[in-house]
Amino acid sequence: MKAIPRAHPLWLAYILHRLSGLGLALFLPAHFYVLSMALNDAARLDAFLRLTDYPLVKLAEFGLVFLLAVHFFGGLRLLAFEWLPWSAPQKTWAAASLAGAFLISTTFLLRAI
């Protein structure tokens, strides 16, 4: 595959943030529509939720959580970069601390469930 010209880490982060945001925006109307079934037609909702037993749907759920996670952390990154006048080493340490805390807390969570 031919390399994308002008691709660099921050640009890829920008593209990932944009595409994940677009994916989530497309998902939200469907999400609210399915949730509305709980009010109007509970039996239909239960029938629909049985779809989540299929491996393909489970995989799609993983994709959804991935989109949410990258958009969430990408957004935090942007907020920190634009609103905190930190130096580059300070940002590196902050990102490393956050990644370390996330790793440790997720490990505990996985052991707990």
Binding site: P5, R6, H8, L10, W11, Y14, L78, F81, E82, W83, P85
Partner: protein
């Protein structure tokens, strides 16, 4: 050196380069985007002799001097000071006079095109008018606080605001950041990284007397808040400046003023 000696050394250099076209020895394939203001025209291929030490500007100059005298391009200083020779090389904006061919060659070939996001005058010469007009729109011009009759106010080079300003003043106006920026590509009103960075240096300059005017100019439509922080300006700046952080500084300064908190 006498004129005769200059002529002799020039003819020796010509001999060293070999005959005008169709040189033997290692060659590089150069694809050049031709065209004018009406849009990109045909892509033309040239075989250019390869040397150990050769910049992209050397290659373009060789084509113009030996293969096709109608090729139009722009350069002046050849040493990375004037900012006039920037072009797209393999889709990436670069200062061609300081870009060694070995750094950009892909399988013995490279592609040269005019700077992105700017109108083309002809071939590789981009029209820089919009780029410089936006510097003025961003109030990236000096607003004096004193006349020549006043004593010169001492400036502490270590003062934090001076350090912030000094970080961005080595811009050579080459428009590499402007060509790299996808926000410029998608938003014709966006002032662009170079103009905003200059506005930020002047905002932090103790000798500039129009901080509010600068913030007014950069907070409107197409101002600093249009930036998506993709960072191509900082990634490709040939002088290793950081317009991305300068624009983030403007975002903070305009926001602080909006909430009535004065200077950032």
């Amino acid at each position: 050196m006498s004129r005769a000696m200059v002529a002799a050394s020039t003819s020796q250099r010509r001999e060293k380069r070999g005959p005008k076209v169709g040189t033997t020895g290692p060659q590089i394939t150069v694809t050049v985007q031709r065209g004018g203001p009406e849009g990109p025209g045909r892509k033309q291929q040239f075989q250019v002799p390869a040397y150990d030490n050769q910049t992209v500007l050397d290659v373009v100059s060789w084509i113009q001097q030996n293969a096709d005298p109608t090729l139009t391009y722009r350069f002046a200083c050849r040493v990375g000071m004037c900012g006039s020779c920037a072009m797209m090389v393999n889709g990436v904006p670069r200062w061609t006079c300081r870009t060694h061919v070995s750094k950009v060659l892909q399988d013995g070939a490279m592609e040269v095109a005019p700077l992105r996001n700017l109108p083309v005058i002809k071939d590789l010469a981009a029209d820089m008018d919009t780029f410089f007009d936006k510097w003025v729109s961003a109030e990236a011009v000096h607003h004096p606080t004193a006349s020549r009759d006043d004593p010169i106010a001492p400036i502490d080079p270590e003062a934090p605001e001076r350090v912030t300003a000094s970080a961005g003043i080595e811009c050579i106006n080459c428009a590499v950041c402007y060509a790299a920026c996808d926000t410029v590509a998608n938003n014709p009103d966006y002032l662009g990284p170079a103009a905003l960075q200059r506005a930020w240096t002047l905002y932090n300059d103790a000798k500039d007397g129009a901080q509010d005017t600068i913030l007014d100019a950069v907070s409107g439509k197409g101002g600093c808040h249009s930036c998506h922080s993709m960072g191509s300006c900082t990634a490709y700046c040939p002088n290793e400046l950081d317009p991305l952080s300068a624009i983030a500084g403007l975002k903070r300064a305009t926001t602080r003023r909006f909430f009535g908190k004065g200077r950032a």
